[in-house]
Amino acid sequence: MSERLADPDSALAALTREVPGRGGAFRFSLRRLRRSRLLHWPIFSFGVLGLFALAGIFGKLAAPHDPNEVDLRVALKPPAFNGGSWTYPLGTDELGRDILSRLLAGAQASFVVAMSVVVLAGLIGLGVALLAGIRGGRTDAVLTRVTDGSIAFPFLLLAVIMVATFRASLTLVVVVLVLAGWPQYARILRAEILKIRTQDYVTMSRVMAGGNRWIMTRHIIPNILSTLLVLATLQVGLAIIAEGSLSFLGIGVPPPTASWGSMLAEGRGYLTTAWWLPAFPAVCLCVTVLAANLAGDWLRTRSDPTMRR
């Protein structure tokens, strides 16, 4: 060992010889892949989110069984790779319902909730922020207080009150989550708008006779768009989790409609005897939320022109 080190030439020769000998082609291709544009795209998160969207839209058509079909004769069958049969690829629950079909149906609930919450809460938040940030004065003061008040109101209490007042349904879940979600957008976007409004390019735009509407569409909205996008993507994850939590607590999507949260709640008791009941919805939740967060992160980097390459 020490002899080799003493002779740098032979050490170098050994090194250079080793490179093509031991999988040089692999190393080369890896470098190429890294350099190519492909890896700049978050394949994992976009792939998962794409699958989630597909499952959310077409899941019910692709499901091998009716997700709500009860058949006690086949209750608690294990997944195919764990000694079960391919009739129920991911096994069945305590009522003999196909887990895969229920996961797909649950994806639909999550997808519908996530999308409507993100779009509605985002629009309301954006509208409030624009009104407060551009009008200023008393409008701003009132809207900011309302926003702060809404953020301070406990989300679960709001959900319980709403469910107690109205009947639990998918729509109600969306309403609750929108009510809880918009203030986040409003608060962050308003701060952003106030910052942009004092930038010199806005003053210059005013000297170019830009009216409020022009400044809003040309400068303010484009400049807060990246923040809005990032917030929205993160909100996808939050909304999925929130829907899961509500359904887990039994105040979300009403049974027997499948939802990842309610599947988790029902399967909780079988953790030691039939692990597939809680495991699969849990994995679905985790992976989807992780993917949404990673995608949000990537979007943030991407939408900043100083980071763009």
Binding site: Y201, M204, V207
Partner: protein
Amino acid sequence: MLDIKDLEVEYTHGGIATPAVRRATLHLSKGAALALIGESGSGKSTLALAVMRLIRPPAGRIVEGEIFLDNVSVTAARHKQMRSILRHRIGFIPQDPTTSLDPLFTIGSQVAEVLPRMPRGKRNGEIGTLLETLGVRAATARLRSYPHEFSGGMRQRVAMAIALAKEPDLLIADEPTTALDVTTQISLLRLLDKLRVDRQLTTLFITHDLRVARLLCQDVAVMYAGLIVESGPMRQVLKAPSHPYTKALLELSESEKIPSSRLTVIPGHAPSPLDRPRGCPFAPRCSRAEEICRTTLPEVQTRDDGVRYQCWNPVTA
């Protein structure tokens, strides 16, 4: 060209009105450059914003007085008329090159915004030429660059291009070189001076640096606590200032020339806009102050050589 008469501007915050500019009277003739000098918070930027009528409720308002641009009243102009004035007649160069350009749009598109509609090729040519005259090298090739790819000095040149592209009659420059290093400052100031002569550009130059003002301007107006304490031709004011504050400023810039001398300062500090003395705002710091200075705001006096000052006990009358 630009006439400001008895202008009063105030800011409102939380229902409390704070006077920012008081009884300001100024005159700028065509093709002349006037330096508006004062410390931070003396109201010089506010005055400039008021000329562009960018002080609007709820942030603040023009309480009194009139501003004329070639005998057109800016203060009385209707909304549409004001937009046309802003669009065609006033160019504005802001102070901070880091925020003067929208980070999301290319240099070319931001300058193009000011120009009238024309074919793209012609427009890009025009923008390129304009930027070249402002000292941006290889400008045509860099029109598609984003602001963050430019240095501070270059960005300020682009901001100047935006201000100048509409060929304004009045250029308002709010400390355009303060954020830049000294060599860049000098070259930009030379450029502004050349442009002023070439285009007969009336310039309102806001600065707190007397040396910069001397280099560029024929007229000067000194502001203190919202008041124009002295104004007139630069040479006369520098030779024999009337107001003790102007004199103190001049002495400061003289003492800067001696290396490693003690830093001289005017004792005390500028009064807060919320708590201004009843009389002359400079009285608490003034060595020549008399009883009347503390109780009554001095009238505007005019000297034979055209210098106007507001002081009860002037250095030169």
